[in-house]
């Protein structure tokens, strides 16, 4: 088939005008019957749009920053060139206040730093203080604390899931996950009386034992909750919009993730198998049968997958804990730490003295220091306490996982679009109360 070459004027076509302002002439290839078969596109004249960069300020009052985070972005078009985060708008000085409080009086402050994981923080602080005091907790208390920590992990991951869905544009999973969160809060409410700021643990035990029939409520939750995870899974995991908005964003390689100090789901999504529950076990976590999900590509989508799997594994741990919960006392039998029952305090001399000393002076640990880290939903949460032998710590330090995770955000958002900044920021799972403390 012979082809014939001729030149036509394309003044009306969109590909425009040459440098002299004349209509461009393009060769048009036609077949024998005269129909066009291929047009070689002329080189398009790119308008010079590069030049000025733009300064964009997000926050501190912006719903997609999950609190009072402020990001200052330098944009080239819609691409982020540089990101300068500002934190500290919620700084309350918890660590300073803690130096003026007894150990049990600090526990309410731990509620208020990572307020989505309050009962987990209570337990983590108590573990640190007990290590300082040199106290071994009772078997029943150990299992109750495991239940508390896994419930708070579920709460925190559900809030993460719901808010991230809203940030990316899906509303329904938010309603589903917050409905399940209500169920967990109802359980916590019937256990310790509070929903958000629980103050559930004490040095040497818990504020309260679980009420009668509470385990039935927990088993009911364990039975129904996986259905919600499956529903969200069906809705999101293979959803084109969800995958398109999350895959390949904010990638951290394993070495980078370790070097930047990421922890929790952020680190595991990058492919580093590090979970404090497995590697530095506390609360007998080594005796529970559960898996640690590890991602491969370290992007936003993998962080989502890791958190979804962690929800399922938490349910597994809850099931085992509910099955093995032993009978017995919750608090340690140590009058130095635990208040005597009211009836004894008003009738026995020794109990009254203990009661008086505990309330007026507070328990006194020996001189020393302890760093206890737990796997909080955000990552490695550590409590570092230094005691000089008085009833108040010399230094109480929170190792905030969100703070260190957020410090990598300038690296993660560089080169991505402005709308991806929101998705990447959501995937870090920050809580500003914990970052600013």
């Amino acid at each position: 088939m012979a082809t014939q070459k001729r030149t036509v004027e394309v003044a009306l076509s969109t590909t425009g005008v040459d440098a002299q302002g004349q209509p461009q002439r393009v060769p048009l290839v036609t077949a024998d019957d005269g129909s066009a078969v291929a047009v070689e596109a002329p080189p398009a004249i790119e308008p010079d749009l590069a030049g000025e960069h733009m300064l964009i300020n997000i926050g501190p009052q912006h719903p997609a920053t999950h609190g009072v985070l402020r990001l200052v972005l330098e944009l080239d078009g819609e691409t982020v060139v540089r990101c300068i985060p500002h934190v500290g708008y919620l700084h309350c000085g918890f660590e300073k206040i803690g130096e003026y409080r007894q150990y049990n009086q600090i526990i309410p402050w731990t509620d208020r730093e990572d307020y989505l994981n309050s009962i987990g923080n209570n337990v983590a602080f108590s573990l640190g203080a007990e290590r300082l005091f040199g106290v071994d907790i009772t078997p029943r208390c150990t299992v109750l604390r495991v239940i508390a920590m896994e419930l708070s992990r579920i709460i925190s991951h559900l809030v993460w899931l719901g808010t991230t869905c809203i940030d990316i544009g899906a509303f329904t999973p938010f309603l589903w996950s917050f409905q399940e969160r209500e169920n967990v809060y109802n359980l916590l409410e019937s256990w310790v009386g509070a929903r958000l700021t629980t103050t559930a643990s004490r040095v040497g035990g818990m504020a309260a034992d679980i009420p009668d029939g509470w385990l039935e409520g927990l088993r009911n939750f364990i039975r129904t909750f996986p259905k919600t995870i499956d529903e969200v899974d069906r809705m999101l995991t293979k959803n084109g919009i969800w995958v398109g908005r999350t895959i390949g964003l904010g990638v951290m390689t394993p070495d980078e993730a370790l070097n930047w100090g990421l922890s929790g789901p952020m680190l595991r999504a990058s492919g580093v198998d590090y979970d404090v529950r497995k590697d530095f076990p506390y609360l007998d976590y080594e005796t529970y049968d559960f898996d640690v999900p590890v991602g491969t590509s370290g992007d936003v989508y993998d962080r989502y997958l890791v958190r979804m799997e962690e929800l399922r594994q938490s349910v597994r741990i809850l099931q085992q804990a509910a099955d093995r919960l032993p009978d017995g006392p919750v608090n340690v039998d140590d009058p130095r730490l635990i208040l005597p029952p009211k009836s004894k305090a008003t009738s026995e001399m020794e109990s009254m003295i203990h009661h008086f000393k505990l309330v007026m002076e507070g328990p006194r640990p020996p001189i020393g220091e302890s760093y206890v880290a737990v796997e909080s939903p955000k990552g490695e949460k550590g409590y570092y306490m230094v005691s000089d032998g008085t009833s108040k710590p010399v230094r109480w330090r929170i190792r905030p996982p969100s703070f260190v995770n957020l410090s990598a955000i300038p690296k993660m958002v560089e080169g991505h679009l402005l709308s991806d900044v929101i998705a990447i920021n959501a995937s870090i799972d920050i809580v500003m109360g914990e970052i600013d403390r």
Partner: protein, 180 residues
């Protein structure tokens, strides 16, 4: 259960020792969990800078401490060149204790604002309610320069620069920071 080993090192050799801990194949402390400092109630005692290191391959934990006496300037080498996680942690430690991490690329306040003048909040000589009275704090807040919401570095980004007052542009060219 918890293996808490504490190693005291001299402040000058911190960088070498932590680099060795990070690089040596039999140590491989590749994860810096925390950088913080401790000041004791006895003001005669030196301030301690504390690093919490983890070795993920060997599942080990190590606490490194360096003591800074108060009769000399509070300076210690930064480990930023080894661990990027030290970036914000050292900034926070500087913010709260006033310890200068020599070698840190961007050592400025992080939790308190850049114009904060009251000192270092976690030092023991800092009163719980702050050094200034409420009236003075309010006066400072009301008289603050609204431009100080942005740092000079941020204002140097493109368009924003042209909108600045002339004196500010000149200060910016000299490499100054806001709020002074």
């Amino acid at each position: 259960m918890w293996n808490e080993t504490t190693v005291f090192v001299a402040p000058e050799s911190v960088l070498d020792i932590i680099r060795w801990l990070h690089d040596d194949p039999s140590q491989r402390y590749d994860y810096l969990a925390d950088v913080t400092a401790v000041e004791y109630r006895d003001l005669e005692l030196p301030i301690e800078v504390v690093w919490h290191l983890r070795s993920i391959p060997y599942r080990r934990f190590l606490r490194v401490k360096a003591q800074l006496t108060k009769n000399r300037p509070l300076e210690i080498p930064s480990v930023w060149s080894i661990y990027k996680s030290a970036d914000w942690l050292e900034r926070e430690c500087f913010d709260m204790f006033g310890i200068k991490f020599v070698g840190h690329p961007d050592l400025r306040r992080i939790l308190m604002w850049e114009q904060y003048r009251e000192g270092y909040p976690l030092r023991k000589d800092f009163p719980l309610r702050g050094r200034f009275s409420r009236a003075e704090q309010l006066r400072q807040a009301l008289s603050a320069n609204p431009e100080a919401r942005y740092s000079m570095e941020e204002l140097s980004i493109a368009d924003a620069f042209e909108d600045l007052p002339t004196d500010m542009r000149q200060r910016l060219k000299r490499g100054e920071r806001t709020g002074e």
